[in-house]
Amino acid sequence: MKKQNLKICVIAMASLVAVWAGSSASAAGKKRCTAQGVKVECPTQSDAVLERARESYGKEAMDMAHGKAGSTYGIAPFDYLTGVGKRTDKTTLTEGESGYGGSAGGGTGKTELWDRVKAPAKGEAIYDQWTNNWSPTFKETLVPGADPNQGKQWYYFYCIACHGWMLQGDGPVAIDLDPRPRTLVAGRYMNKKTNLELFTVIKGGGEAVSLSSSMPSWGNYLQDQDIWNVVAWIRAMQDVKSPRDLDEYLNPKSTFKPIAGDVNPLNAADNEDFMEAQELIEAEIAGRGEEMQGGKYVEGGLRERPQDVAKEVKLGN
């Protein structure tokens, strides 16, 4: 992205009236997206898929409330003296019990791994207690100095509501957003976006790159290195299809090829466009007076400096 454009876009964030980019863009198929200056079809899911994803997610939640699907909610299974009704090892959800999957269409519409593949044997991957999910551990990265494993976790916490568990743009609230959230695994579109654009849209929100204001700014939630890690996770998942077996699930093959001359965490501090964009974004997002400069590295939460990440997670092809 040209420096001038970025400046205008970021400044547009300051305007009092929120810009709802492409105000009549209800049809997902319209060529209102651009990739390297060329108009392309927006990679989004159809309304039918999103409606189904939302409904099946709601069904799963209601099943929990009524004590179905191995869950323990609701008055029926609850005995407060014995603790009966509490989910235990024996009543943990198993394959086929999650209501969210159903007859998935273009999107995955699935929240639990057992809807996708069989749970891996111990040691084959990390079990994330938090997201109740088995997921791949990446040994390589496509963004030097950024760790897709760390990015994956932030993604599960902050991004799934709209972009979906498997980055298909089919999160349970996607149907309520207009324009619809992007399918983040669409290589034909995403692979043409520079790191600067991806970083900027996450940190500054959609308006920072003239996209939908439905994409909030995350620069007040995540440190710069966290955002780089999310970029690495997205890069690692380009055109990754629903896995046929465990091996495919644990070793996703991305179609992303690094763009020549693109900014990355290792060279960001020397990149003029990048640094200027940060200054503009940080002036606009909240929580900063003159004394509270942002984006700096703070050790904690398993965070590492880009140079240390680069040593641990080597660069893929």
Binding site: Y57, M64, Y73, Y158, V298, G301
Partner: protein, 587 residues
């Protein structure tokens, strides 16, 4: 008739006897804990006197509730403000989280209004309300070792505060870089340090208590929540919310001693406490020297459980199921009961409207009890209580049967204020069916309409700018089908703009409902928007910003705004009832 008359006389006689008995036993009452206590749940034990009382900061109902232990009966509610978070007994922080109350005052912070309330425990009324400087955003407070100061975390500005209780004078220091969100804090028992978690830095900040200044940051797990110092004062234990671990910090070395895997979504810890003889610690009777603890109990939001941690071995020894999504956690002063302050009551209780109650669940922590680990009582609770702490009932006297005539309840020669702040005011509110309007700001008939969508975990738009003097109408629509990650289907989203707009917002939007508020944005500045319902594990991170720009000045930020005016909190209390905290360079 005669019969009735006779009966009446008998009743009168026994009432007099009771009253006399009450008077004569005043002196010994302090030493006696009623022996009637029967914790076995037989649906018959409905005690009228409770040996302990639980005071809780009621969250979005703006009240402190007083609940008896172990009867779990709600005695009363005390008006304090908008959105209450932490309760701290005056006295000293020696001991466990309940501290060492002197029975005089209870301090409670209001995150919605940016104030600290002082409740007189003996009158049971709010006596003073300290308005902290702006911009700040006080999340929690902790009492200094000498009992004279309150430390506070400025979640919305990355700042920390120290307030002198007697005068309200406040020192505010920065804790950068942004993003920075200090949330829970505790003091070292020896008075040297203050420890605070910062969920954006994923560190625990160490501050010197006197002089009040930043010392260092200790890296911990992802997005730490509670930071709690054990009674011995040797360890600070940190609930690493997104890492499912507990980081144990050695206070002497100011370094991490151990990281223990605990449970999914750990939020807070409490510990038991024993006096130097190994018996129950009774403040005012036992020496606060040489206190020890055996177990910590940590709440696990995502795992729907409380875990028990052996503080010698530093490992998890038991897991107790809770119903559901425990946030804060409290322990009875006698170590017998743990109270899980649950944020969801999915499927429990009768509905009373569109907003469901949360609940308190008391489980039996006595290892030798036949009902150990079982839930003894579970009660629906109004508001959305944050922390709760226990005090022995003997510390609160009965002033209604003549004792006040002897003096001691009220200070002589002065009028003791009784303050009843407004909970919601200076706005018009509506509910409407789920709005499908696009998010954003639009001018409609001279009113700036702001459409906001709330989801797990955030707001669209996240930054809202209006001009000073604008009449604004805010529509908040909950677009969640269920709470993110935990999938609770009964998710209610909140929307509060802290400070001068706290009173005018404090909106609750259950699924399928759009909540509306209308007010005039008459005070410039940058004010954080937050979700006052504990909607899920990333609820704290569900934030936005409301900028009110003064057209005659530059765009508002943390340096530019009518912050002096904001501190007067128009509409909260009557003029002259607010103690405006003076900002000082050092305390």
């Amino acid at each position: 008739m005669r019969c009735n008359h006779k009966f009446l006389i008998v009743k009168l006689f026994s009432a007099v006897c009771l009253a006399l008995g009450g008077l004569s036993s005043v002196a010994s009452a302090a030493e006696q804990v009623p022996p009637w206590q029967n914790a076995e749940h037989d649906n018959k034990d409905t005690p009228l006197h409770d040996p302990m009382l639980l005071y809780n900061a009621g969250g979005l109902d703006g009240k402190v509730a007083v609940i008896g232990l172990p009867s779990m009966k709600t005695y009363r509610h005390i008006d304090v403000g908008v959105d209450l978070h932490e309760v701290v007994y005056g006295g000293s922080p020696a001991g466990n989280k309940n501290g060492t109350p002197d029975g005089k005052y209870l301090y409670v912070n209001d995150k919605g209004a940016n104030t600290i309330g002082e409740i007189n425990l003996q009158t049971g009324m709010l006596e003073r309300l300290i308005a902290l400087p702006f911009p700040f955003g006080v999340h929690h407070i902790a009492l200094s070792a000498d009992g004279k100061y309150l430390f506070g975390t400025g979640e919305y500005t990355g700042k920390m505060s120290k307030t002198e209780i007697a005068t309200g004078k406040t020192q505010v220091i920065d804790w950068g870089p942004a993003p920075s969100a200090p949330d829970y804090l505790d003091v070292g028992k020896k008075g040297k340090y203050v420890f605070a978690g910062n969920y954006y830095h994923s560190t625990v900040g160490v501050f010197s208590a006197n002089p009040f200044k930043f010392i260092k940051e200790i890296p911990v797990g992802k997005n730490p929540h509670g930071v709690d110092v054990i009674p011995e004062g040797t360890l600070a234990i940190v609930s690493d919310k997104l890492s499912a671990t507990m980081t144990v910090i050695d206070i002497d070395k100011l370094a991490v001693k151990k990281v223990i895997p605990t449970c999914a979504g750990p939020l807070h810890s409490v510990m038991d406490v024993y006096d130097a003889d190994g018996g129950t610690y009774e403040p005012g009777k036992d020496s606060p020297e040489g206190l020890t603890s055996k177990y910590a109990y940590e709440s696990c939001f995502v795992a729907d459980a409380n875990v028990k941690i052996d503080l010698k071995k530093l490992e998890v020894v038991d897991e107790i199921p809770t119903h559901y999504r425990t946030g804060h956690i409290a322990i009875s002063a006698d170590n017998k009961y743990v109270i899980a302050l649950n944020k969801f009551s999915t499927g429990l209780f009768s509905p009373t409207g569109v907003v469901y109650p949360v609940n308190f669940e008391m489980w039996d922590a006595r290892e030798d009890s036949p009902t150990y680990g079982k839930t003894l009582k579970i009660i629906p609770v109004d508001g959305e209580p944050h922390n709760a702490k226990t005090i022995y009932a003997y510390q609160i006297k009965d002033w209604t049967m003549g004792q006040a005539e002897k003096g001691g309840l009220l200070k002589a020669g002065m009028m003791t204020p009784v303050i009843h702040p407004h909970h919601m005011a200076k706005s018009k509110r509506f509910f409407m069916p789920k709005s499908n309007e696009r998010p954003g700001v639009r001018m409609v008939n001279g009113v700036k309409e702001i459409h906001v969508k709330a989801f797990s975990y955030g707001y669209i738009p996240r930054q809202i700018r209006v001009n000073k003097g604008d009449k604004v109408r805010i529509f908040v629509t909950n677009i969640d089908k269920a709470a993110g990650i935990t999938k609770n289907p009964d998710v209610t989203m909140g929307f509060t703009i802290y400070g001068p707009y706290g009173l005018r917002t404090n909106l609750s939007a259950p699924r399928g409902v759009t909540a509306v508020t209308e007010f005039v944005a008459d005070i410039a500045g940058e004010y954080a928007i937050f979700c006052q319902h504990f909607c899920g594990p990333l609820h704290l991170e569900m934030r936005g910003s409301f900028f009110v720009d003064d057209p005659t000045k530059e765009a508002s930020n943390l340096d530019i705004g009518d912050y002096g005016k904001a501190q007067t909190l128009p509409g909260l209390v009557e003029e002259g009832q607010l103690t405006i905290a003076e900002r000082v360079k050092s305390l």
